[in-house]
């Protein structure tokens, strides 16, 4: 009588315990390699680390140096231009493509993967391909000249003021199809009954999208925003392959800035402080947004 509940107790306790035990290593690894290194970076940003980490604290010196660097100002301006255009245009194109594909057209099964395939390429491939396409000496401009359109000019990639827009172009090309897929899934999830009811009430097509469909796509908007914005902030490979940060330093982004200061320029302290600023920027944008969106669900 006394032993039976105790045994059952042990079993339930074991059952409760095992999932935790199984998860423990990965949780520990995440804590060390994600949060541990965030704290380490934070610490390094207050030290005078140069070629290798040092533990000599210097206060906010790295941060004050960072914000006096015109190179850093260029990087964050570029990120602002890149992120807003990239997220905005990808979302618009993705939404438009999804809406058009959702009109029960013929050949959807063929069109959908065509739009989606750029996402299967890595950013390095996209960057290299667009680099060749946009290069005035071998790409589009050259081809147009060969075809007889001598006055055609498209040298954005070689122009310090416009090169950042070529990065947007390549990134939008790559991601729009993926955003389309997300919106398409959202559109397919909308209950047809509601649409029929709206039609019966005499709603126009525009009103239906404006009042019924778009509001219901809200979760898709959230996912698109979260995915695109983290891609924008961490984008490194695309810039490296497409422009190499150039012409000059005109297309440097905070990610490339952080990498070069930390690993090639022997200024690990400044590199770490730029990483911390990047983290805080993302947190400042994402946390309120996620908070607002997720609270409503409850």
């Amino acid at each position: 009588m006394a032993s039976a509940p105790a045994q059952a107790d042990l079993r339930t306790r074991l059952q409760n315990f095992i999932p935790k035990l199984v998860l423990a290593p990965s949780v520990a690894v995440i804590f060390l390699f994600v949060y541990g290194f965030i704290i380490f970076t934070l610490y390094l940003s207050f030290t005078d680390s140069r070629i290798l980490p040092s533990y000599n604290l210097v206060g906010f010196e790295n941060y004050s140096k960072l914000f006096r660097l015109s190179h850093w100002t260029t990087s964050i301006t570029n990120l602002a231009i890149f992120a807003s255009l990239y997220i905005g245009i990808s979302t618009l194109i993705g939404l438009a493509l999804a809406t058009f594909l959702d009109q029960k057209i013929r050949g959807e099964g063929l069109l959908r993967p065509i739009y989606l395939y750029p996402m299967a390429l890595s950013f390095i491939v996209t960057g290299t391909a667009w680099k060749w396409l946009l290069d005035p000496g071998i790409g589009l401009e050259h081809t147009m000249h060969l075809w007889g359109w001598e006055s055609f000019q498209f040298g954005w990639i070689k122009n310090s003021d416009y090169a950042i827009y070529t990065v947007v172009l390549a990134a939008v090309w790559q991601s729009s199809g993926f955003v389309m897929a997300m919106f398409l899934a959202g559109l397919r999830g909308i209950d047809n009954e509601i649409l029929k009811a709206a039609q019966m009430d005499g709603a126009s097509n525009f009103q239906m999208y404006r009042r019924i469909i778009l509001p219901q796509l809200r979760p898709a908007f959230l996912s698109a925003f979260v995915i695109l914005s983290h891609l924008a902030v961490k984008s490194y490979d695309l810039v490296i392959a497409l422009t190499g940060g150039g012409p000059g330093r005109a297309t440097e982004l905070p990610a490339t800035f952080m990498y070069s200061y930390t690993f090639t320029r022997n200024q690990m302290g400044i590199g770490a402080s730029s990483a911390v600023i990047m983290l805080m920027t993302i947190a400042a944008i994402m946390v309120p947004y996620l908070y607002a969106e997720l609270r409503e669900k409850k």
């Binding site: 660097l69 290069d135 005035p136 040298g155 150039g246 012409p247 070069s260 690993f263 090639t264 022997n266």
Partner: protein
């Protein structure tokens, strides 16, 4: 149990084979990947192979070695440093400061390095009186490489002053060729600017501004004038230069698409590899206004500490690098001049002979200056700050006045 035992055994075997492989091989990290450079490196490979030492090649492309230095840092932090690494100037000092380099004093005294290597070079090869690197060559960056046919066709004689240089560029422009072939990477633009600063301000100014980093000199009108001149050169470069590799720019001169390239003497290797002959197919002359100075950088091989001692292969590699016969054979192919001053110049071509004579003369007259763009003026952080400003100016983001102001701030922050 047996499984674990087997695993342990195979791990032990693996470890053993790994060490035996390392005992007969040298792993060399370098960034000599272009045609002329690879040919020069084969001389060293052949030399070691004749001593039965295997060569594990570890090339990391990218002139100036930025990428190679990143790989090196990863290798060292993971405790797996290569045997020997190609390095430039202050990088050697930085790594020596971290205590990562082996002490080559025994090999050096055996080979009598102290007597034959110029003092300006020893400043980089030695750290606190210990030899930590073996210099392979001395490059100088204040060279102009020109297409002789274009010069003859347009009646251009070798310019010796800035005005003549400007006129030569104008003549080439009028003849419908690109006057200056320029590669579009920050280090190349900065390498060009080294020569412009020297020519504009003279040796004292160069020393003060780009080596002693005096803020007053950096922000002076002379510096602004140097930027103005760089702007003139920029106008004589084609619009498609950004991102171009240096050897592609050299190819433009070889093919006659462009008249001149201002580049270190490694460019000669490309001419030679293309079967061209100095003074017949191409010309080499000092950047106008820097005829008496030699602005150098030296490739050296630093040996990484293998548990407190210099291993046999490292010693063999170091003495192979420093042997006069190798220095001659290697530098004939590479385009540079030997790091030892006692090597006869018989095998060298006209440009090589001129380079060796210039070096000897400059060393004598104290006119040997480290090139900032090549990591021989100041440490990497300052070199890169310099790149930032020069490349931003060259690509049109700054005017010369802003560039001068930015140079002062950027260098102050990097210090």
């Amino acid at each position: 149990m047996t499984l674990i035992k087997q695993l342990k055994l195979s791990a032990a075997v693996l470890a053993l084979t790994a060490t035996t492989a390392a005992a007969a091989d040298v792993e060399v990290l370098h960034w000599w990947t272009s045609g002329g450079e690879a040919a020069a490196l084969n001389v060293l490979k052949g030399d070691l192979e004749s001593q039965n030492i295997g060569w594990m090649d570890m090339p990391v492309a990218g002139g100036g070695g930025e990428a190679a230095m990143t790989v090196l840092r990863a290798r060292v932090t993971s405790g797996n440093a290569p045997t020997a690494v190609q390095m430039l100037g202050f990088d050697i000092q930085d790594w020596a400061k971290e205590g990562a380099l082996a002490n080559l004093n025994d090999v050096a005294s055996e080979g009598g390095w102290d007597a034959v290597v110029p003092a300006a070079l020893q400043r980089f090869s030695k750290y606190e009186d210990q030899w930590v690197a073996a210099p392979v060559n001395v490059h100088s960056v204040n060279w102009v490489w020109a297409n002789k046919k274009l010069f003859d066709d347009n009646n251009i004689s070798v310019p010796t002053t800035w005005e003549e240089f400007e006129a030569a560029m104008q003549t080439l422009q009028d003849a419908g060729v690109t006057p200056i072939a320029q590669g579009g990477q920050p280090w190349q633009e900065a390498t060009l600017f080294d020569s412009v600063v020297m020519a504009t301000g003279g040796p004292e100014f160069y020393q003060k501004a780009l080596i002693d980093l005096d803020p007053e000199a950096l922000g002076s009108d002379t510096m602004k004038q140097a930027f103005d001149r760089l702007g003139v050169i920029r106008e004589n470069v084609d619009d498609n230069f950004s991102g171009r590799d240096w050897n592609l720019a050299t190819a433009m001169v070889i093919n006659g698409e462009a008249g001149m390239q201002i580049m270190g003497d490694w460019a000669k290797g490309e001419f030679v590899a293309a079967g061209q002959v100095p003074d017949e197919d191409f010309l080499c002359f000092r950047f106008p206004g820097t005829q008496d100075q030699v602005m150098f950088n030296a490739d050296q091989f630093a040996m990484f500490d293998q548990g407190g001692t210099v291993s046999e292969e490292q010693a063999a590699l170091a003495s192979a690098i420093m042997s006069p016969s190798f220095q001659a054979a290697f530098n004939v192919v590479k385009g540079s001049v030997p790091a030892r001053t006692d090597v006869p110049d018989t095998d060298f071509d006209a440009c090589g002979k001129k380079g060796m004579a210039d070096l000897a003369q400059a060393a004598e007259a104290d006119m040997l200056f480290g090139s900032l763009a090549q990591g021989h003026g100041a440490p990497a952080s300052i070199k890169n700050a310099y790149y930032d400003v020069v490349t931003a100016f060259f690509n049109g983001s700054f005017d010369s006045e802003t560039a001068t102001e930015e140079l002062v701030t950027a260098i102050e922050i990097a210090q």
